[in-house]
Symmetry: C2
Subunit: 491 residues, 2 copies
Amino acid sequence: MAKKLTTREEDYSKWYNELVVKADLAENSGVRGCMVIKPYGYAIWERMQAELDRMFKETGHQNAYFPLFIPKSYFSKEASHVDGFAKECAVVTHYRLKNAEDGSGIIVDPDAKLEEELIVRPTSETIIWDTYRKWIQSYRDLPLLINQWANVVRWEMRTRLFLRTAEFLWQEGHTAHATKDEAIAEAEQMMNVYSDFAENYMAIPVVKGTKTESERFAGALETYCIEALMQDGKALQAGTSHFLGQNFAKAFDVKFTSKEGVLDYVWATSWGVSTRLMGALVMTHSDDNGLVLPPNLAPDQVVIVPIYRNEVEFEAVDEVAKDLMKQLRAKGIRVKYDNRDTQKPGWKFNEYELKGVPVRIAIGPKDVEKGTVELARRDTLQKESISNESVVEKVILLMDEIQENLYKKAILHRTENTTEVATYEEFKEVLETKGGFILAHWDGTTETEEKIKNETKATIRCIPLDGKIEAGRCMVTGKPSVRKVLFARAY
Amino acid sequence: MAKKLTTREEDYSKWYNELVVKADLAENSGVRGCMVIKPYGYAIWERMQAELDRMFKETGHQNAYFPLFIPKSYFSKEASHVDGFAKECAVVTHYRLKNAEDGSGIIVDPDAKLEEELIVRPTSETIIWDTYRKWIQSYRDLPLLINQWANVVRWEMRTRLFLRTAEFLWQEGHTAHATKDEAIAEAEQMMNVYSDFAENYMAIPVVKGTKTESERFAGALETYCIEALMQDGKALQAGTSHFLGQNFAKAFDVKFTSKEGVLDYVWATSWGVSTRLMGALVMTHSDDNGLVLPPNLAPDQVVIVPIYRNEVEFEAVDEVAKDLMKQLRAKGIRVKYDNRDTQKPGWKFNEYELKGVPVRIAIGPKDVEKGTVELARRDTLQKESISNESVVEKVILLMDEIQENLYKKAILHRTENTTEVATYEEFKEVLETKGGFILAHWDGTTETEEKIKNETKATIRCIPLDGKIEAGRCMVTGKPSVRKVLFARAY
């Protein structure tokens, strides 16, 4: 294993790319822009899925599955949606291959052309609302609270593993409601579910807010989001939840009869998070030695490495290791015991450091004699020798402690890298020297937002929900503003 | 709710189609051949997934995710695979849409044509083996035991919900081994995992066997399968497991260095089951009143329906119902308490019968007085009044009893509908009058197999693994045969 990673200081982007591949999270495939999610990466994603799925079901949602393909004409039905999504898409035009007559291989059969092209879903609002028309007649059918786990495709020109790939995995919730207020409450609830998940499960602090008009989802009246700050001072949008008003109901003619017998269009939301969260995880916690995983998400929370020079030593060490493994597993801890004789302990230490296993336990012949083990924390890299009797209790405590420590470190990083500025000069200087989140007054116009974006590459990440109301003047135009908004350069 | 289903006697195929839609399992979408899996159907599929996933992990497999798209040229690399799969496929030829210049809507941008067409995966051997080349160098990297949960697309001309759809959901296992024996053992193990799952979890008896050469997976040296018999006497292939030899390793140049330092191609298997199992489930257990679900798979194992005429009665019934629900949930039973006041008890009874909930508990004012409830079994449609004190215990027993009863009924049906024949005349008569599985001697040639298929539409479902060795003569050609093989008309 060629362990040495490029350091974050040297080249953050290169460090990220190397780490994702070397820690066995994902790699590029033979298909442009499409990634292979490797078993170790997928195991982390499965843990995210399981927890999110639990949270969705707890809030009354059910899973379902809708088609991968969407007829081209569906996209034209919702006016603003078509501009946002019917662009860089994978388009299916034919349904058959055949052997070339000249024996040169297989070719697309020109006789098998589809009457209407099919688009590989970039998001499923259109096909789902086309279905909801059949499912919704009365207030009794509402609310309809559905989620889908699926793959989607957006033909991105520049791709990066997890952060921006042509195909990615995600969940998309699509709900229908009898009233506007209920739909808004749902969109807000799901933003809160996402922020709970990010903070308490992934140990990633996020800012909750709403998007400006120009950054809203195509077809939404309001987009709620959670924004996280990466180690390099760039922002990452970690999840969005949209209040769609009656736009899709009108586009797909979905009406219901209310309790009072009145016919009206239903109100909608949609919300999603994706394998992009894997990128956020890497760029929030990891270091120059490799991945650092919060215990909640680690496929292996503890790895036990035996140290020995001969068969006799191995047997003594092995007995202690197996006993410890059993005790830890009985407490619900996910333990890997790496007793392979094909790799040396030093190799294994590097390997599990690279893979971010929260706790490493090494046991050698001297430990057996003394009744101790060596315990190392991945987050702080601290090592200590502790007695066999107290190791289980210690590990249990460490699970919470490491989880919490990672969150605190991330909060501290964000605090240190959030700057309030008064002038555009100051804004530009902070962006160039320090980066991070920048809070500044803005006049609320798309023109000013565009100007700032064009001149500095910084965008308004969100209008924070907990931002204080304070009179001020737009840093660019000097026009009045009632609150600061959150800017950053973003992934 | 228009409850009355077409009966199975009247028209089995129509009964199936109606039931799948009315019981809220799935429905056709606006996209030709692609289904929408509705929340109730998806909840059953999730239970199948969870159990299979547990079984795969218990046998040492890990999940991963590979691209949806496969470059066209990959299919040509394995000679027999290309004939089997590179035919009726969804072909992506373009990656962009744009607004038509004449304002007529959106069109495919002719400038965005892909250099090489991409095929939406019909199965993933080629893209996975292209990846395995990078993952496998040494015997230390073997065995590689990977599974993927994914959607796949095969452009079927005639589709039926769950049984044959253009897009379906499945899992596909793809493993790599150092030796031939190990790969064969893996393929057999996974066939056994599938049969365990079908029999013990879905209550569907299956025959394990191998496919004849002409029915083998394209690229396999041996295909193991499990075959189930539906109520109408037709067979359904419920799962397959393939020993692929070194075919894909050779096609994609995947070699490993053995412990002894010898370079060789690796040995492969692949295996899969799909949402087709949902069709098998429906056609094994259900009746003219609707779905019948084995307790293992039922999203709701028990439904409680309150019966009352006024608020006072409701309050008394509600108290008993809620208490019972709590007690049952504490025992791990999945209970739904349907206290909606928008539907009458009779409507609810029909609804849950249609949806196959294994046990229904009705509680009325008289029950409250007497300290009893009315308990109805979905499988036998028997009702009984039992005391509040014994209901929890009774329900727990019923979970096993119903599961077992469904399996026994299915076994009995299969026994009654499996016929051994000696002559081709007898074979044809049984096929026409009774259907079912037919055991007959066959001379082992593809010619005879084809002749039988063309003349009778019956195919060899498998060469049963537990079939007894007995000298005989092929029913068609009179040539010698050492065992009877299993014929049927099939889905």
